[in-house]
């Protein structure tokens, strides 16, 4: 094979699994199917709700309309359009992971060898803890239907679920997370830190829930003098992250730890970040993680968690549409997280109300040929020590 096969606008690297012709076609089909559902099928759920499900609900209850997103969900559950949409949407999620998993498992041995070969190049490190207790919210359900989750290991030195995540996220996001799936990190750096804190120069940085380190690497580039650490619960994603960072020439110190309680000393970091991690933690775990951030930050340090905004102020039907993933797409913590007042939680975790803010920043993603030019938005929970 002359050049590695990639998706349009995707940057190849040594650890990225390479789909063959039909695997790439199936992954392309999943993208087309997801786009079709989003643009041509999902709008029908709102129509069916207004024209059929809500009137039916009201007629059975003396004229009372569904009161909140939970009643809207129940009103829709009996409608065949909603059932078909839900079923095909769920199937598309399974197909997404299957289309990538088949490609990854075909190359699993080779990927493990490549991971081994990439170590020691950039000066980063990997510290695993085989005895780490996996918390219930991560152990019981493999988030977003990814087989194996972040921790499934099926061979010694396995990196398969890391490769599955790296390629799967690119397919899932249809490339909108950038050529290296690093747009969230790039956005926080360029559109928040550079814009709002231009003189900020952290000496030590910690990325919590880093998965394959895709959002971690922009911080290495932005702060070349900083010592960059990254933690996650899963050993195989960390093995992959370490090898990926080394292959891409970025020094990151990865360790297998729970963000609720790490082994770093008090005041060890100047910048703590996370990217789309809050909605994968339970509310109690989130509170402990925010308190841990407060413990770990040095005076003058910043905590920035990039995720999606809460349900407050969003109309109930939109809430119900968003909440579909909570109940039906293995995102059980999505709705609970969005129901919390995270500013209040951060304030209560030690930051104090005056040192916490919620910020919306545009994403930086650069779209090239064949894609709709569109900027997204990222919600940031910011705490200053």
């Amino acid at each position: 094979m002359s050049t590695p096969r990639t998706h349009p606008d995707q940057q190849s690297h040594e650890l990225l699994p390479t789909p063959d012709h039909d695997e790439a076609a199936r992954q392309g089909f999943v993208q087309a199917l997801k786009a079709h559902i989003a643009t041509r099928v999902s709008p029908g759920v709102r129509e069916v709700y207004e024209h059929r499900a809500a009137p039916r609900w009201a007629s059975e209850r003396g004229g009372a309309a569904p009161a909140d997103r939970h009643e809207i969900r129940r009103a829709l559950q009996g409608d065949v359009y909603y059932q078909l949409w839900s079923s095909v949407r769920r199937s598309s999620q399974h197909l997404l992971w299957a289309s990538v998993a088949d490609s990854v498992t075909r190359q699993a041995g080779d990927l493990a060898d490549r991971a081994q070969a990439a170590t020691g190049r950039a000066g980063g490190s990997l510290r695993l803890d085989p005895g780490l207790e996996i918390p219930w919210y991560n152990a019981e359900v493999d988030i977003h239907c990814m087989p194996g989750g972040y921790r499934g290991e099926y061979a010694p030195g396995d990196v398969a679920v890391g490769a599955l995540y790296d390629q799967g996220v690119f397919v899932y996001a249809m490339g909108q997370m950038g050529p290296l799936n690093d747009d969230y990190g790039q956005s926080v750096v360029a559109n928040y830190l550079r814009a709002q804190h231009p003189a900020f120069a952290p000496g030590r940085i910690l990325d919590m829930g880093c998965t394959v380190g895709n959002a971690t690497l922009p911080y290495v580039d932005a702060f070349p003098d900083a010592e960059v650490h990254a933690i996650d619960l899963g050993a195989p994603v960390l093995r992959y992250a370490h090898a990926r960072a080394e292959a891409l020439g970025r020094a990151v110190h990865f360790s297998q730890q729970n963000a609720e309680r790490t082994d770093f000393p008090d005041g060890h970091f100047d910048l703590i970040i996370s990217h789309i991690v809050l909605h994968e933690m339970s509310p109690a775990a989130l509170r402990r993680m925010l308190a841990e951030c407060h413990r770990l930050l040095a005076p003058g340090g910043l905590m920035i968690h990039a995720d999606f905004p809460g349900y407050a102020g969003v109309d109930p039907l939109t809430q119900a549409m968003i909440d579909w993933d909570t109940w039906n797409n293995h995102e059980p913590l999505w709705g609970p997280m969005r129901s919390m007042d995270l500013s209040a939680e951060a304030a209560g975790a030690g930051f104090g109300a005056g040192a916490v803010s919620e910020v919306i920043v545009p994403t930086t993603r650069i779209l090239q040929t064949g894609k709709q030019a569109r900027q997204g938005q990222l919600w940031l929970l910011v705490g200053r020590r």
Partner: protein, 135 residues
């Protein structure tokens, strides 16, 4: 240290494949049931969705073959695997995939039109009955 790390931390069970497989096919946690038939319709839809992906893969393979044939006049060994779509070609394929998907999932649009029009099977049967009544 990559190769020497013990696998399968004993702290919590992970998703496991069935015998003869090296990787699980599904995520840990139950799959939802959307139709009140024990999951039969959901399974049929999963099969149809997978089948659609297979049909698409076939179509794309044919497209690749046609492109390669047009370019070279013959098909040398490995020509399909070696072919890399140009950006323009990739864009064309995305558009084709969108049109293909719209054809396969046409039923959703039919149902949307039906919902907006207020058409129901009962209404249709009433129309037939009305015709019979005119006999």
């Amino acid at each position: 240290m990559l190769g020497g790390v013990p696998t399968n931390p004993a702290t919590a069970p992970q998703a496991e494949p069935v015998d003869g497989r090296t990787f699980p096919t599904k995520a840990r946690g139950a799959r939802p049931v959307f139709f009140a038939d024990g999951g039969a319709t959901d399974a049929v839809l999963a099969i149809v969705t997978s089948l659609a992906a297979e049909v698409w893969a076939l179509r794309e393979r044919v497209t690749t073959l046609e492109t390669v044939l047009a370019q070279g006049g013959t098909i040398p060994a490995g020509a399909v695997e070696a072919h890399r779509p140009s950006p323009a070609e990739a864009g064309h394929r995305s558009a084709e995939a969108a049109a293909f998907t719209a054809r396969v999932f046409r039923v959703f649009e039919e149902m949307r039109e039906e919902a907006l029009a207020g058409d129901t099977p009962d209404g249709y049967e009433a129309l037939v009955q009305r015709a019979y009544d005119e006999i």
